[in-house]
Subunit: 321 residues, 2 copies
């Protein structure tokens, strides 16, 4: 395959996303050149999706383009950062213009929503793999870190939890079970909560996006912050589509399922009412599911009164991904 075909891919990608004024030089030179706004910190995150590991061979390329960017935007959301630029390294078995057009359509549609410009990257030949790095801005001392949770803070979650894990479980079940469209979209086309993250910046005490699973990710916050958490399992919001399955399957998809890309965040008591009001006025569904406590580990209080205590060492058992 002549390298010029990959050059064509590069030219194709060059105009695929928003054109921002702070991009001095985009795709096509040795580096991209970017202007940072004064007084802001740069937030960066990089994630890789590998065929056979993060998605099945033959997966819809438009959904892959969306998801490869979405999982990274979700990291910016969890930091309270405003998205700005992305780089993309695409490793492809060979040039396939139909695949590529569809991939770019998925990627650029999501990029447009977030006013994000693709500014560089690499295109190589090899087993299908997608690496994206996102770059965003956050005001100094306003970023949502994992290490700021304090005893007494309320623990909140955005949206609903468990949908993506249920979709994956149904897709993998034998005999094959039909997957409701609403659940499948939650797995294939996650919505990064960047507007909510930006609203919480400087207000929430800690945040993380739910990618590994609710208990595992809450565990990361507890470990980083040196605190414990108590969760009322019955308060965790589940979607109408998920409810029926939970009666069959129990709480595991909600507690351990990953890939929801909702925000889990902690809010100090003195600003709790204000923060919740501004979230809801901004159109964001947020739900109080527990509280931060002194100690270590996560306590799960089930609706029947049973309490299970998860130690940090045990969080990994709650990871499905």
């Amino acid at each position: 395959m002549p390298i010029s075909e990959f050059d064509l891919i590069r030219r194709f990608l060059q105009h695929a996303t928003a054109q921002r004024e702070d991009v001095v030089l985009g795709i096509g030179d040795d580096c991209a050149l970017l202007d940072m706004p004064p007084g802001r910190q740069l937030a960066v995150s990089m994630d890789t999706l590998v065929e056979g590991r993060h998605f099945v061979p033959g997966a819809d390329p438009a959904a892959l383009g969306h998801k490869a960017l979405a999982v990274n935007l979700s990291d910016l959301a969890a930091m309270g950062a405003e998205p700005a630029w992305a780089t993309l390294s695409l490793t492809l078995p060979g040039p396939d213009s139909a695949w590529l057009e569809s991939f770019v359509a998925g990627f650029s549609a999501l990029a447009a929503i977030h006013n994000l410009q693709l500014v560089g990257g690499d295109t190589t030949r090899g087993p299908l793999s997608i690496t994206v790095q996102v770059h965003g801005f956050v005001a100094a001392d306003s970023a949502l870190r994992r290490d700021g949770a304090c005893p007494g803070d309320g623990i909140y979650i955005s949206g609903t939890i468990g949908d993506a894990a249920l979709a994956l479980g149904l897709m993998q079940s034998r005999p094959k079970t039909p997957v409701p469209e609403a659940l499948r979209l939650r797995l294939d086309r996650p919505t990064p909560r960047t507007m909510l993250g930006r609203l919480l910046a400087g207000k929430a005490s800690a945040a993380i996006d739910v990618s590994d699973g609710l208990v595992a990710d809450l565990g990361h916050v507890c470990t980083s912050s040196g605190v414990a958490a108590r969760i009322e399992v019955g308060q965790i919001p589940v979607s109408a589509s998920a409810e029926g399955y939970l009666e069959q399957l129990g709480w595991r998809p909600v507690l351990a399922g990953g890939d929801d890309y909702e925000l889990l965040f902690c809010v100090p008591g003195d600003v709790e009412a204000d923060v919740v009001t501004s979230c809801r006025e901004g159109g964001h569904r947020v739900t109080l599911i527990g509280s931060v406590e002194v100690g270590a580990g996560v306590s799960l209080v089930y609706p029947d009164g049973r309490v299970s205590r998860e130690t940090p060492a045990g969080f990994d058992h709650f990871m499905d991904t």
Copy 2:
């Protein structure tokens, strides 16, 4: 393989490189948080190395760690930017602590020389592949772009050209030919010319690093700048190790071989003497190999007087990689 083994890798990488004061938050949260110096632009570049494409299975992991970072630093050099931060996405068939220790040793030794901190990335399971993004700073309007060459500029090259291509050619020759250590090191452990690039920032009119091959990369500069170039082939500097092979093999490894990661740059006549003096005072070998002319394409003037004209469409034939 439990994900916690990959967590161990992350913790291992966390302290592998320089700790910089402008890193507000490094590895371990949803994003890294970085402080940009005022009045500088951010330069970013991302490159991927794939097993079987860019290196052979079983390649020395220390050399891979070095090269994965070096090819990216070379892009910062070609832009005149000062290295600051890197992110690394490592896709591994499985955790292999000996391999990883060696890879990180190669990566971090080069990072230390350039005062570069690893601030984030991803670790996934799959076919061996390494993606690195580097981030550097350059004063506004000082970056070395590809599009600034003007007729009359002198064309210069750093170091020597052809060593890496000769090493690769010898490694791949049948029957097997021993590869001189000096050539092998040039292929496996390229030296990114970041100090030279920073010295040229704001002075050279255009620059590129020689990764695809001298004619191909010069062709990129000519196309971007809308100019032609005339090269005296006999003036291109070759190493003592390479000289003997060139008598056998001709000029092809010098003109078409990639992977040298030297800087090719253009200098306007009015500052040429000053620039060359400061390069040499800085300990950098730089050689005048031709001049920028009106027109398009690259003319190669061989020592025997023969002239070959390469059009932009033909540059790709000079690419070996």
